[in-house]
C-alpha cells in the first residue's frame, strides 16, 4: 500500500482548454483561454487544493478532469490512460473511478427522488442489479457520511433536508462507487459557517479512511488549511504558485498570492479601522490575456520590459515550492 501511495494516479500535462468564440454563429472570433498550460501530478491518496477567483479557470480545469471538456492541447492521464481518448465503455469505468462533489447541494440533487433513490442511481448505472445489495451499500455509505439514523433519511426528499445534510448526501453519492479520486468544487461555499468545518472534516476523514485522492477547489484560502497540505494558486488560466499551505500563508511568493492573502480577513475588530491594500483593476479577459505575465497590469512589483514581454518561467525559490514570477529568477 505504501508503495502504491507514491504512484501517480492522475497526471496533467501542459493542459490547454480553450473555448472557441464565433461571430454570427460561424466565423472564428478567437478563443477563451480558460486553462492555459497547467501541469501537475496527483498521487494515490494525495490531496491538492486549487485556489483562485471566479474566471481563473479552476472550474474548467475540474470539468476537464471529469472528462466534460476536451483539451485543445495537452492531456489528462488517469492510471496511465488518457481520458480524452477513452471510448464509451472505458468512460463508464472512468466515471466510476472519479467522484464529483458539486458546489451547490440545493441544486445538485433531483428534487423528485428520495435520498435512497438518489444514492442508488450510480449503483444502478454501474450494473449492480440486486436491490438488497444496493440497499446495503446505500445504508453503509449513509453511515459513513453520518446521515444517521439512516431510517430517518432514506425516504426523505431533498427539500426536507438542511444544507449541511444535503451536502452529505452529495458526498455519499460521490463515494458510493468507491472511486479513487474525488473532485470537490467549492463543497462548502454555500453552507453556513458552523456547518462548513463539519463538512470539511467529514471529507478529510473519508479521504484518510479510503485513501482517496482529492482535488479541492475553492476561492477561500482560510478553509484550505483544514483540508489539504498542497495548494496551487491559479490566476487567469495559469497556476502561478505551488506550495504547501503553511509556508504559503507565512511567506507567499507570487504578488497575486500576496494580494489574495491580504484580502482575506480573519474576525478582528481592528479590521474596521484600516483600509486594505489591494491591487487595482480586475482579472484580465481570457480572450486576449496580457502579454508576458498575466498579472503584470495589476502587479505592484512589475519589472518593465520583462514582465510585460515574456511569460514567466517556473522558478523554485525554496525546495518544494514553485512560483511563476520573474522576481524569483
Amino acid at each position: 500500500m505504501a508503495e502504491k501511495q507514491r504512484e501517480v494516479l492522475l497526471s496533467i500535462n501542459d493542459l490547454h482548454v480553450w473555448f472557441e468564440l464565433r461571430r454570427f454563429g460561424f466565423g472564428h472570433a478567437g478563443y477563451v483561454k480558460a486553462v492555459d498550460g497547467v501541469t501537475f501530478d496527483l498521487y494515490y491518496g494525495d490531496t491538492i487544493a486549487i485556489v483562485g477567483e471566479s474566471g481563473c479557470g479552476k472550474s474548467t480545469l475540474m470539468r476537464t478532469i471529469l472528462g466534460l471538456n476536451k483539451p485543445i492541447k495537452g492531456s489528462v492521464t488517469f492510471e496511465g490512460k488518457e481520458i480524452a481518448a477513452l471510448d464509451s465503455e472505458e468512460l463508464r469505468w472512468y466515471r466510476s473511478q472519479v467522484g464529483y462533489v458539486q458546489q451547490d447541494p440545493f441544486g445538485a440533487l433531483a428534487p423528485f427522488m428520495t435520498i435512497q433513490r438518489i444514492l442508488e442511481e450510480p449503483l444502478i448505472i454501474h450494473g449492480i442489479k440486486d436491490p438488497v445489495e444496493r440497499e446495503r451499500r446505500v445504508r453503509k455509505v449513509m453511515e459513513e457520511v453520518k446521515l444517521s439514523p439512516v431510517e430517518d433519511f432514506l425516504h426523505k426528499f431533498p427539500h426536507m433536508l438542511s444544507g449541511g445534510q444535503l451536502q452529505r448526501v452529495v458526498i455519499a453519492r460521490a463515494i458510493i462507487l468507491e472511486p479513487k479520486l474525488i473532485v470537490a468544487d467549492e463543497p462548502v461555499s454555500m453552507l453556513d459557517a458552523s456547518v462548513r468545518v463539519e463538512i470539511l472534516k467529514l471529507l478529510r476523514g473519508l479521504q484518510e479512511a479510503h485513501r482517496l485522492a482529492v482535488i479541492y477547489i475553492t476561492h477561500d484560502l482560510s478553509t484550505v488549511r483544514y483540508f489539504s497540505e498542497r495548494v496551487f494558486v491559479m490566476y487567469a488560466g495559469n497556476v502561478v504558485e505551488k506550495s504547501d499551505v503553511h509556508r504559503l500563508v507565512k511567506t507567499p511568493y507570487h504578488p497575486y498570492t500576496v494580494a489574495l492573502l491580504d484580502a482575506t480577513s480573519d474576525p478582528d475588530a481592528e479590521n474596521a479601522r484600516k483600509f486594505r491594500e489591494l491591487p487595482p483593476g480586475e482579472p484580465p479577459s481570457l480572450v486576449k490575456p496580457p502579454q508576458g505575465c498575466r498579472f503584470h497590469p495589476r502587479c505592484p512589483k512589475m519589472i518593465d520590459t520583462l514582465c510585460n514581454v515574456d511569460e514567466p518561467l517556473e522558478f523554485q525559490p525554496e525546495s518544494g515550492r514553485l512560483v511563476s514570477c520573474w522576481l524569483y529568477k
Binding site: 470539511l200 482560510s222 489574495l260 484580502a263
Partner: protein
Amino acid sequence: MPRDKLLRIENLVLHFKTAKGAVRAVDGVFFELGYKEAVVVLGESGCGKSSLAKAVLRLLPRNVERYDGKIYLEDSEIMGLDEEEYRRNVRWVRMSLVPQAAMNALNPVMKVGDQVAEPAMVHFGVKKEKALVEAAKMFQHVGVPVDFLNRYAFELSGGMRQRVAIAMALVTAPGVVILDEPTSALDVLTQANIFNVLKRLKQELQVSFVLITHDIATSSELADRVAVMYAGQIVEANDAHSFFNEPLHPYSRMLMASVPRLRAENEPEFITGQPPSLLNPPTGCRFAARCPQRFAKCSDEPPVFNVGGRQVKCWLYEA
C-alpha cells in the same frame, strides 16, 4: 430616546402566515445604531435576518400575520406612520437598502445611470439631467468610472454591479443604509474592495450602515457594533471590540469558534444540531437544545441582561 442614536429598534416582531401556522421570522429584535456607525447583524441562514431587513424598511409581503414593535429614527417613531407618509419620508429618503444578490437586482433593460438617478427623481422630484449629475457624483464615491452611466448591467462585472447597487441606495443621501449580504457572491479581492468603499463612504458621506450577513470574518471589516441573531431573536448586542475578543452568549462563542482562520492555528469547532423551526420555536431559550452550558433555568425564556453595557439574552448572565 437619547439624541446620540440615529436608529433604535425595540421589540420588532414580524410573523408570516403560512398553511402550517405562523412563522416567527422576526421575534423580538432590538439593536441601536449611532451616527456614522455600522452595526452588523450576524446570523446563519434561516435565522430571520433578511426578514429583519424587510421589517425595518417595511417591505412586507402579503402574508403578514403580525408586525409590530418600535423603530425610532433620530427623534421620531416610524412604526406609527401610515403607508404614504412612510413611503414619502422614510423609505429611500432616510433609510435605503442594498438588496441581497444586488448583482442581479439591477434592471437589465435600463441604463445603470438611469437606475441610480431614479430614486432622486421619484423622491425629490428633480429633473432627469440634475438627477444624473447626482448619480455621476455617487459613481465617483463608490469607485465606478463616470462613463459607465450609459452602460447596461450585463456590461459590468460583479463588483461593479454591486457598487452600482450601493450608489443607488446612496443617491438620496439617506442616513441609514441596510446592506443585506452585500458581498456573499463576490470574489475575495472584489469583496475586500467593496469593504474599502463602504469604509470610505462612512467617513465621507456621514452615513450609517446596518450590515446583515452570515460571514463573521468579513463582517469585522465594517463593524462598530455587532448584534447576533438566532432563531428570530437577537441573543447578543455588543460593541465590535468586545464581541470579537470576548463574545458573551454561548451561541456567539461557538459561532466564533467555528470560523476557519487563515492566520491562527486553532482547530475550528462546529455546532452540532440544527436551529429550531420558526414555526413552533421552543419555549424558553431557543439555543438551549444545542447549548453545552444549559441548565434548569433555560426552559424559561431568558430576558436581556445588561453586562457592563453589553446586552445578552442568556440566563448565565443573571446578576
